[in-house]
């Protein structure tokens, strides 16, 4: 029995853009982002009793969103593995290669082509680095807030960001070679 019935409409109105956009950056697919957004708010509704106010509601929702995105990506990877296995045994079926380039709907027109490479590069980052990078560069959070969301020290967050930037540069150098060949 719930001790308090949350006003999901109000919570949704205040945080829907945050959740949707973070999911969109993580998953790079609008349908997947919508699915995860729904799961996040259902989760918020179900577990509002567990929210202990040690952080803000916004921070708590950030945490739930990140966890849901990571779970979604893991489940997708597992599906892909099975699809690969079944494609070997299917007659005339080659493995479908996902070549969709993600373009965020909010990116300025003149930046769209370049942003494709950026999102591709972000997608190659390890989970923690990706999370830290997205939270600071896309969501505009400070290191202190990111440390609360990720449950890490500020020093760890700074280290993650440093490594994320380095890895992105390495990846972008490779993409530049591709870009030059076009």
């Amino acid at each position: 029995m719930k001790s308090q019935v949350p006003d999901i409409k109000q919570i949704y109105n205040e945080h829907n853009k945050l959740v949707y956009n973070l999911s969109l950056f993580y998953l790079q697919n609008s349908e997947d982002a919508e699915e995860v957004t729904q799961d996040v708010f259902v989760s918020v509704y179900q577990s509002i009793d567990q929210f202990n106010h040690t952080s803000t509601l916004k921070t708590w929702i950030y945490k739930i969103t990140i966890n849901k995105c990571l779970d979604f990506l893991k489940a997708k990877k597992t599906k892909k593995r099975w699809a690969f296995v079944s494609s070997i045994f299917n007659n005339g079926g080659g493995l479908k290669h996902d070549t969709s380039d993600f373009v965020h709907p909010g990116i300025l027109l003149e930046n769209k082509e370049h942003s494709i490479y950026l999102f591709k590069a972000i997608d190659t980052l390890p989970e923690s680095q990706k999370t830290a990078f997205l939270l600071v560069n896309i969501e505009g959070l400070g290191n202190k807030e990111i440390s609360v969301v990720m449950g890490k020290s500020i020093g760890s967050v700074e280290s993650l960001l440093q490594r994320a930037k380095e890895n992105l540069r390495i990846q972008l150098k490779e993409y530049y070679k591709e870009y030059r060949r076009k």
Partner: protein, 91 residues
């Protein structure tokens, strides 16, 4: 130099980016999911209770049948010990 400029422009491609708007019907879908969740939470215990009742009825029937079979056997044993005919036939 060209590579460096290109990388910088890629890194800056999210500048002045607008936040995307989710589907207008998303809230409706969320409310529907929550409603389904709680109606399923009521249906599950009900279906368990029904299944359990059916199992109990079957077990009770088996118990009664076994008991009545044993009592018939007992009656036959008692009749035999007194050299009585256990059935009702006269011949």
């Amino acid at each position: 130099m060209e590579a460096e400029n290109w990388i910088k422009s890629v890194e800056n491609s999210t500048h002045h980016m607008q936040k995307a708007e989710p589907n207008a019907f998303l809230l409706t879908r969320i409310e529907q999911k929550i409603e389904n969740l709680y109606s399923n939470n009521f249906k599950k215990p009900m279906s368990w209770a029904l299944s359990l009742s059916v199992v109990l009825i079957i077990l009770a029937n088996i118990f009664i049948l076994v008991k009545s079979f044993k009592s018939v056997k007992n009656e036959n044993n008692i009749a035999q010990s007194f050299n009585l005919i256990p059935n009702n036939s006269i011949y």
